[in-house]
């Protein structure tokens, strides 16, 4: 055992918690190392003397002062927070009741916002694409394959769509194969 290990085991040795083999090593080291032996002796004395330090006692006014403070607390009555916690709205405990109320407000608020939306806004894609073509200079134009106006898309060839309505329908998003 070296000095470091000896130091780690001092308390366990004093309190008789070391295993036999470790205890033997510990004792051997104590015999050969005077520094460690001195350290052990000092610590054993400190442990012995610490409980014998002068016991302090509270002053004569201690109980009186304590009761004064308690009287002050009792006279103050419950704080606003304590008063709120004592409330029983409709017989519910306040904390779950507040939680429930907040959840309801959030659900109703979210439902109101969703129901008042008029669906997705109509977007004029044709107008948008022509605008972007005008704005982008020729040399910066991305290489996008645009269908010939004469060619018909799958949606255009849908038999359910009448030719006279095509111009009007073209402005909307069309579902492929939709009827």
């Amino acid at each position: 055992m070296n000095c470091y290990d000896f130091e780690l085991n001092i308390s366990a040795y004093i309190e008789g918690e070391l295993k036999q083999a470790v205890r033997r090593d510990f004792s051997t080291h104590k015999e050969i190392c005077s520094n460690c032996a001195e350290k052990l002796e000092d610590i054993a004395h400190i442990i012995q003397q610490l409980p014998e330090l002068t016991q302090k006692t509270t002053s004569r006014r201690f109980i009186h002062n304590l009761h004064e403070k308690i009287r002050e607390i009792d006279n103050q009555g419950p704080s606003i927070w304590q008063w709120l916690l004592q409330l029983r709205p409709l017989g519910f405990d306040p904390v779950p009741a507040v939680g429930f109320a907040m959840a309801m407000v959030m659900i109703i608020g979210a439902s109101f916002l969703l129901l008042n939306q008029d669906g997705l806004p109509d977007i004029d894609f044709e107008k948008l694409s022509t605008q972007s073509q005008k704005e982008v200079p020729q040399h910066c134009k991305p290489s996008v394959i645009t269908p010939e106006p004469t060619l018909t898309t799958m949606a255009d060839s849908d038999s359910s769509v009448k030719p006279e309505n095509t111009r009007h329908i073209d402005n909307r998003i069309k579902l492929v194969g939709g009827k």
Partner: protein, 193 residues
């Protein structure tokens, strides 16, 4: 039946049910023990007494927070230790701001330190002052455990619950704390015998 035959746990239960007499009994049982614990921690008797009052007031106002899963003394020591640690932090902060704000006890220590004769055998009073000074220099974690174990003589299990660290850590800290304490005393030329 005498007071000391009734356990602390029964007394706190009675107090929770509204028996103020039980509270007074608990106060009488713990006031001096708590004072000694906190005094060794903050090193100022007046401040320690104030903190004991705060601890016992917390017991009065938060009596329902105690649940019988832990020993009553452990619960009370935990409150006291937290208050003492908070106070010590405040005290340290104040000292950082101004050295002129040294407490009365600190000034006493400064004067006493010049009178120490290392060759002289330590009287119990000198030893007490030296220990108090050395404890003040120990880090809070070691100090709390040394006070609880070696001065208050609590079990490792109780200390582990009060400081909320595993038993192995408590044992390791107590050993390191004792070694540090011995080194501090030795550095000042003071040996405990």
């Amino acid at each position: 039946m005498s007071d000391f035959q009734i356990s602390d746990e029964i007394l706190i239960k009675k107090f929770q049910e509204g028996d103020v007499g039980a509270y007074n009994q608990l106060v009488n049982r713990f006031k001096d023990r708590l004072l000694n614990f906190i005094y060794r921690f903050v090193n100022d008797l007046d401040l320690a007494e104030d903190l004991v009052q705060d601890t016992l007031l917390k017991l009065y106002t938060h009596k329902d927070s105690y649940q019988e899963i832990a020993k009553f003394s452990t619960w009370l020591y935990t409150i006291a230790a937290n208050l003492a640690r908070t106070e010590l932090r405040k005290k340290k902060r104040r000292k950082t701001f101004s050295v002129t704000e040294l407490s009365r006890d600190d000034r006493e220590f400064i004067i006493a330190s010049s009178d120490v004769d290392p060759s002289e055998d330590l009287s119990s009073q000198n030893f007490e002052k030296s220990v108090q000074r050395a404890l003040a220099e120990l880090p809070d974690d070691f100090k709390t455990i040394i006070i609880l174990r070696d001065i208050q003589e609590l079990s490792y299990d109780e200390i582990s619950k009060i400081v909320e660290v595993p038993m192995g850590t408590v044992k390791s800290r107590i050993n390191r704390g004792r070694v540090k304490l011995q080194q501090l005393l030795k550095k000042k030329g003071e040996r405990p015998y």
